[in-house]
Amino acid sequence: MVTEAHAEPVRARRHISEYVMPAVGLALVALVVVWLAINLADDPARFFRVSLIGLSQGALYALVALGYTLVYGILELINFAHGDVFMIGGMVTASIVLQVFNMEENPAFGILMAAFLVSLVLSVVGCAGLNATIERAAYKPLRNAPRLAPLITAIGVSFILQNVAILWKGTRPVSLPVSEFAQGSGHHLFTIGTCPSCVQYTSDRLFILLVTVPVLLVLLWLVRYTRQGKAMRATAQDKDAAAMMGIDVDRTISFTFIVAGALAGVGGTIFAFYASTISYSTGFTLGLFAFTAAVLGGIGNLPGAVLGAVLIGLIQAWNEGLPWHTPGPAWTQSIVFSILILILVFRPQGLLGERTPEGS
């Protein structure tokens, strides 16, 4: 007689802590949402105004965050020096604007555009070359070393770049001539409501988006639909297998660093025009914010990096601009790093999931 085994589904016993962590995380998110809702109800116009600032800031972060995420995706290396490459791009821009164009305050639109385009090209080329050189000189010899060795080297490179900037420009911040267009004052594209409780969309914010969005689309196309992009994805998945399929792994890694450097160059130029001041330490903090954005979206994940960057930009703007119970600009850094820590503790794979050789 055959006794039929009861096909009782085996349930994995879950420990109570496995419920606690997500619950705490969700509670934190809920708290932020409630806080935002109260602020929105309090002063809707201000909320939207602040959010628009955050969006532009986020677009800028996205350019840098993509560089982190590209490099991490392929080498699993946190390229600490990336933020400083961005800063060097800004310095190149500042030099060109001040020394080549001799730009004065409120230049004519044509001169502004010419200066912007020339410095954009030179900054992109310079940063791409710089990033590729760094990779060849500092990271490539350590490809088979213990995992932390290239990370430590990257920190060293970051310090070297900052001090190159000091050597070049001194410790004081470099100021660019203020132009109404690039700072957005007086150039309102549209206005909703009556001021002061109005939402204005200014030229500079549109300008940032006009530059960054095409760049991001080109990057996505490059990675998704070109041969070189395919090689990058293959190298990221498995270097040895990629090499066996005839992919030149070293060249692909160099190409990745070139792309990342170019993005940082675009970011640096935009930042220099938008903020109109840049100092040797700008890149470090901004780079860490961008790295947080990359982790927030899921490192190695390109749309994730953009999403994370926009979120970080928005959070920064909300923190610095909203009226009701905001900690204020003095705490921005702490808040961003708290997000970094919380996301690593509660959801280390990020919002959209991690795409690294280990993570996928």
Partner: protein, 534 residues
């Protein structure tokens, strides 16, 4: 190069040594630095002689270049003579050269040379004990050497590096050495990269400020404090207890920070610690009534003054120990050497604990985790607990160092605790050799000296000798201006360069620990067992 390699070993050793001789004597003559060049030269010659390849190569090469029977005759001499004669010969040669160059002897150089020579002649067994003891004795009497009556320094000047470091620099060197030894427990022993070590330094300093200053004027607590005026409210606890409290607070913070984050893989852990290292100083900057609603850190001006250290009146009367390190009968006296000796005592305790911990069950577990997490876990090493202990111990000594730092400058303010400092301490550990306590201390001494005095001395020397510098044209915020260099501005670039060069060419550091060196050379399996994606 081929020509160079064709020359005999003897020539290849002799030429660089001769070049160094000429260089230093020339420098000594040009600088009018009394005898320093000759002293440094003898030290170098001694090192060259002590160096085994030179000793082994010297006599066969003499034979090869034509001095017949040199080796056999030399070999007949007793080992003592074989050791004793060459340094004397070289010293005599150098003295002759220096005499010809017209520089006169300095007693300090002669004394140091004699000490070196005696140490060199001692049998190895005794030397192993005598060498550290001599170094320690020199370090302990250093304040007396540097500051005699009339502020006349007993110690000579060194070419390029100029004078020996002053008291403030020495105290900073020892405090940073303490921190480097603490960080070495985390990075060197357990292999966890900590980029936010400055947080523990800051926490220790602030903890000392909380329990030994008039900050919390709402309460009036006293426990064994010295040198606190009768009307001064606030918490005043004896500095020695405050050190312990600071260390425990830092260690608890280490556990709190470490517990949720230590399961992350190495590079994520580094970033999280960096985040903490940035957050804590910002809390310190904003932690006054405006930012926090409660005056925890007194914001940018910081906590000032912190009570002076001392042993109190009872110990003064009965044991002869100093009652107060800073004030004497209400008068301000500069007892920097007492703070210096206190720092040395704390460093010795730190080193002792560090070495004992390394050899303990816990320390062996750290090294096992560093080498192979999977194997360590399989052998029953509890990963999380062991890592957390590494973190807590590192934080403990960072806290002590921070507290003594606060006591040293009698205040604590937030601008001292930037990310730079974390990397600064990390570069000490990397330069010295991860895992090797003595190497790490050497790295800390060297880098802190460079930071505080060395770089400005060297750039001052370069400005005076190599460059046509015009100080009136110099711009303080740029590195090269008016023909002058201002190297301290790019000090962190120099540390960055040191980190990169060491990682590329000598990843196990200048004084490698044997085990760590093997790990770097043969590679270890360092894929983490517990990963974020689980």
């Amino acid at each position: 190069m081929a020509f160079w390699r064709r020359q005999s070993l003897f020539v290849r050793r002799l030429v660089p040594a001769a070049l160094i001789t000429i260089l230093f004597v020339a420098l000594a003559a040009a600088d009018e630095v009394q005898w320093a060049g000759a002293g440094v030269l003898v030290a170098i010659a001694d090192v060259l002689l002590l160096w085994k390849p030179v000793r082994d190569g010297f006599w066969p090469s003499v034979e090869r270049v034509g001095v017949k029977d040199a080796h056999s005759r030399w070999g007949e001499q007793s080992p003592f003579v074989q050791r004793a004669v060459p340094p004397v010969v070289i010293a005599v040669l150098v003295i002759l050269v220096a005499w010809a160059a017209g520089v006169s002897p300095d007693p300090a150089v002669i004394v140091l040379l004699l000490i070196t020579y005696v140490l060199y002649l001692l049998p190895r067994r005794i030397r192993r004990i005598a060498l550290p003891l001599t170094v320690l004795a020199l370090v302990v009497v250093y304040p007396l050497l540097i500051q005699q009556a009339n502020y006349q320094r007993f110690l000579f000047k060194v070419p390029i590096f100029d004078v020996f470091p002053g008291m403030d620099t020495m105290i900073a060197m020892i405090i940073f050495a303490m921190m480097a030894v603490g960080l070495n427990m985390v990075v060197g022993y357990a292999g966890l990269l900590d980029l936010g070590y400055v947080a523990f330094f800051a926490l220790g300093a602030y903890a000392a400020g909380w329990v030994a200053s008039p900050l919390f004027y709402q309460v009036d607590v006293r426990f064994g404090a010295v040198g606190v005026g009768p009307g001064l409210r606030g918490i005043h606890i004896s500095i020695w207890a405050a050190l312990l409290i600071a260390a425990v607070i830092a260690a608890v913070a280490g556990v709190i920070i470490g517990f949720p984050t230590l399961r992350l893989r190495g590079d994520y852990l580094a970033i999280v610690t960096l985040g903490f290292g940035e957050i804590l100083p910002q809390i310190a900057r904003n932690g006054d009534a405006n930012g926090l609603g409660f005056n925890l850190t007194n914001g940018p001006p910081g906590i000032n003054p912190i009570d002076p250290p001392g042993f109190g009146n009872w110990a003064d009367e009965h044991l002869g120990l100093p009652a107060n390190f800073v004030l004497e009968q209400g008068q301000f006296v500069n007892f920097r050497s007492l703070i210096y000796w206190g720092a040395i005592g704390l460093l010795l305790i730190t080193v002792f604990c560090s070495i004992r911990l390394r050899d303990s069950r816990l320390g062996r577990a750290w090294i096992a985790i560093r080498e192979d997490e999977v194997a360590a876990a399989a052998m029953g090493v509890p990963l999380m607990r062991t890592k957390t202990w590494a973190y807590a111990s590192g934080a403990f000594f960072g806290g002590v160092a921070g507290a003594w730092f606060a006591v040293d400058i009698a205040s604590v303010f937030p601008d001292q605790f930037f990310f730079n400092i974390s990397v600064f301490i990390l570069s000490m550990v990397i330069l010295g050799g991860m895992g090797n306590v003595w190497g790490v201390i050497a790295g800390a001494f060297f880098l802190t000296y460079l930071d505080r005095e060395g770089l400005s001395n060297i750039s001052g020397w370069a400005n005076g000798h190599l460059l046509n510098c015009d100080p009136s044209q110099q711009n303080p915020s740029s590195v090269i201006s008016g023909g002058c260099v201002n190297a301290p501005l790019v000090s962190f670039g120099i540390y960055g360069l040191i980190i990169v060069l060491v990682m590329l060419f000598r990843p196990y550091g200048m004084f490698p620990e044997r085990r760590r060196k093997v790990e770097f050379e043969t590679g270890v399996h360092d894929t983490p067992l517990v990963d974020v994606t689980q």
